[in-house]
């Protein structure tokens, strides 16, 4: 593991620790609000934040394992650990969607006005947390752009979803209370909840799709395959035969194996120089790639 990778892992771990603390306080507040009010939206909010905290904890544990051990023993498997954590986050988000949607449907079928001290607790909490989640979203988005990975992607999506959720719950509670005298206002809560539920579902599908493809060792997409071939074309005179190319993604890491034949009259040093040039150019062009060039004199299966 190189120094850059260690520093990168530690900054991800710090980010996740911050998210864990914020999530834990959020759970305490949503629990209090839910217990002091009769709003099913607040029940859904409590369940959602509780499940999200579990997801953050798992991601935090995963990144700690990556940073502290197994680097040498599980070089390929660590990418999968990230994918599995992301899949779990996706499953947790799916569960949140189902709970919120079920509550919304129940409230639409049996509408009622919301009341209790918990509403004010929640309104205060939503104001504070919309600020916190908004800033954490931007922080994670920056980290994710600097060092793309499924884990940071899922965290970024998660906190965008939470930020939107805060705003919607705030509006929902505020409007329900402001128009409490009108019958139609009892539908505001479930309607706002459904919007939140579908935004969670949308984020879940994105994470699920990306993580499952990576877990199945998908090959590189067409654009990056062509980048490899373009570099091989640029170095056309450096090698004698192309016997095969293999590629796969594991988390944010891309592994490429290229099987080349070289002129037997060339010196080993010259061949090594060619290999180094080709490898450096492909690695420079494909972010997060680890390129291995194998000298061989026959086709590979």
């Amino acid at each position: 593991m190189n120094t850059a990778a260690v520093g990168d892992g530690i900054s991800k771990e710090k980010a996740l620790r911050g998210l864990f603390i914020a999530g834990f306080i959020d759970v305490l507040l949503t629990t209090t609000a839910f217990l002091l009010a009769n709003s099913s939206v607040l029940l859904a909010d409590f369940l959602k934040t509780f499940i999200e905290l579990i997801a953050i904890t798992l991601s935090w544990v995963a990144i700690r394992r990556i940073n502290r051990g197994g680097g040498k023993t599980y070089e390929y498997g660590l990418g999968k650990l990230e994918n599995i954590s992301s899949l779990f986050v996706a499953l947790v988000m799916l569960l949140s969607f189902l709970i919120i949607a079920a509550n919304a449907v129940r409230n639409i079928l049996h509408p009622g006005h919301i009341e209790g001290m918990g509403l004010w607790v929640s309104i205060g909490a939503q104001i504070v947390y919309s600020g916190i989640n908004g800033s954490l979203y931007f922080k994670n988005r920056r980290l994710s752009r600097e060092s793309p990975s499924p884990l940071m992607d899922s965290q970024t999506r998660l906190f965008l979803t939470r930020f939107i959720g805060n705003i919607f719950i705030l509006l929902s509670l505020g409007l329900s209370m402001a128009f409490a005298g009108h019958t139609w206002s009892s539908y505001i809560d479930p309607a706002a909840s459904l919007v939140i539920a579908f935004s969670i579902l949308s984020a879940t599908l994105g994470i699920f799709s990306s993580s499952v493809c990576d877990l199945l060792d998908r090959t590189l997409e067409e654009e990056r395959q062509i980048m490899i071939l373009a570099e091989l074309a640029r170095h056309f005179h450096d090698y004698e035969e192309l016997h095969g190319i293999r590629s796969r993604c594991s988390g944010a890491q891309v592994y490429v194996e290229i099987f080349l034949g070289f002129d037997p009259e060339k010196k080993v040093g010259e061949v090594q120089e060619s290999i180094d040039r080709i490898r450096a150019d492909i690695q420079g062009r494909i972010q997060g790639s680890d390129v291995a060039i194998v000298m061989t004199n026959g086709p590979v299966s």
């Binding site: 067409e222 373009a230 074309a233 056309f236 192309l242």
Partner: protein
């Protein structure tokens, strides 16, 4: 019923000049068949024309094949000319740096003239 590969390859020889006509798509699905067929022809001669006039699509798998063909012909000091590629195919060759080593002509007649 199995799906037919969407690539037709016809081959004819005219006084030692091998002309291969590719029609359809050269992609992951069709490239294994094309590889076997074209390498077989490359073993037989020294001058080749790949007529791409009716090739409508080429993927990275097809580009890899072309790289393999060019390496095979270079190794045996043979010559291969690609003729009449469509605009899309030419664009793919351009972005993938293939124009740096491919010999391309606008028509089959021009390719024949170059090889005679």
């Amino acid at each position: 019923m199995s799906k037919q590969p969407q690539l037709d390859i016809t081959h004819h020889e005219d006084d030692g000049l091998h002309i291969l006509h590719l029609s359809g798509r050269l992609d992951t699905e069709t490239s294994p068949h094309a590889e076997g067929r074209i390498l077989e022809v490359i073993e037989k001669g020294d001058t080749f024309i790949l007529n791409l006039q009716d090739l409508v699509y080429i993927s990275s798998a097809g580009l890899r094949l072309i790289l393999v063909f060019m390496k095979k012909t270079k190794k045996k000091n043979a010559r291969m000319i690609f003729c009449a590629p469509g605009e899309n195919i030419l664009k793919v060759f351009e972005v993938s740096n293939f124009l740096e080593f491919l010999e391309i002509t606008a028509s089959i007649e021009e390719a024949v003239l170059k090889l005679r």
